[in-house]
């Protein structure tokens, strides 16, 4: 990947990442996040991982982001209520994050170079080579992943179902019977 292209993409990615944490409206945050994710997908393609780059765009931007958008619109959260500013938390959080970025960058730039030049095979990043690894070396992990997704779907349905109890309402535990009585009375 040529350097000018990398710098262009890196600037877009960092702007999008700042957009996620600086916008007030959650929908705008989500659009900035989608921009960053598409950008990271393009960086994947530039690094030779074509399959992964397209999977990133399809899965993240196409599925997960739409799920977020769906929830934001379902709960009608476009306008965030009064910003609850913790000035000390913002101050120390920003300083801590900047220190983390500096530390990680120093760590990465001082990393020992890998001895010798790695040989990149011609099929690097293709669907075939990815599938070959998934279904041979990582077969057990792949199968466990399917169980994880099944459990996640079951858990999501169980959680998002309308709760009959008053476990999450503002009323304390002692008031649970009152809430129940009011619900059954109405």
């Amino acid at each position: 990947m040529p350097l000018w292209l990398f710098i262009f993409l890196a600037v877009i990615a960092i702007c999008g990442a700042f957009g996620v944490i600086l916008q007030r409206n959650p929908v705008h945050c989500l659009l900035a996040l989608a921009l960053t994710l598409i950008d990271v997908g393009v960086l994947f393609v530039g690094l030779g991982a074509e399959t992964l780059g397209f999977l990133q765009i399809i899965i993240y931007v196409g599925a997960i982001m739409v799920l977020f958008l769906f929830v934001i619109w379902l709960l009608n959260l476009q306008i965030e209520p009064a910003p609850n500013a913790h000035l000390a938390l913002k101050f120390f959080g920003s300083i801590g994050a900047a220190a983390l970025a500096a530390e990680l960058s120093v760590f990465f730039f001082n990393a020992q170079p890998v001895s010798g030049v790695a040989t990149i095979p011609g099929t690097y990043g293709s669907v075939e080579s990815l599938a070959r690894m998934l279904f041979s070396d990582y077969l057990v992990a792949f199968e466990v992943t399917s169980i994880l997704l099944l459990a996640a779907v079951a858990g999501a349905i169980a959680l998002a179902r309308r709760m009959t109890g008053a476990a999450l309402t503002r009323t304390p535990v002692e008031g649970e019977g009152v809430v129940r009585a009011r619900e059954s009375g109405s």
Binding site: M1, P2, L3, A13, I14, A17, V20, I21, P26, C29, L33, T36, L37, V40, L43, A49, T51, L52, L55, I64, L67, F68, V71, L74, L77, H86, K90, F92, G93, S94, A97, L100, A101, L104, S105, F108, F109, A111, V114, A118, T119, I120, P121, G125, S129, L130, M133, D137, Y138, A141, T145, L148, A152, G155, A156, I157, L159, A160, L168, R170
Partner: protein, 101 residues
């Protein structure tokens, strides 16, 4: 000129730090959740870049699994958010003190 792999690692570090900052600064649960996705993607970028440097496909397979776990996490997390909002009618992390003693 070919971009050195170190630059990708530096970009990954910056995006990860922005995600950490979003997690600490924002109080909206959904935006905090988006910050988590940001951090996951920074790590994915580091995996792919390092895999490229070593010349192996293992990093890409790990990224594949990270994406799967992120999808599962998004499904469960958003279900928790819907459930919370239904009961509390707020998504401010400071007011969600259900598990705080």
């Amino acid at each position: 000129m070919i971009t050195p792999i170190d630059y990708f690692m530096g970009l990954s570090a910056v995006i990860f730090a922005i995600g950490v900052a979003g997690m600490l600064v924002r109080r909206n649960v959904i935006v905090m959740f988006m910050s988590i996705e940001l951090m996951l993607n920074a790590v994915n970028l580091a995996f792919v870049a390092l895999g490229r440097r070593v010349g192996s496909m293992d990093g890409q397979v790990i990224v594949f699994f990270v994406m799967t776990v992120a999808a599962a996490e998004a499904a469960v997390g958003l279900a928790i958010i819907i459930s919370l909002y239904r009961g509390r009618e707020t998504l401010n992390a400071d007011e969600l003190n259900l598990l705080r003693w």
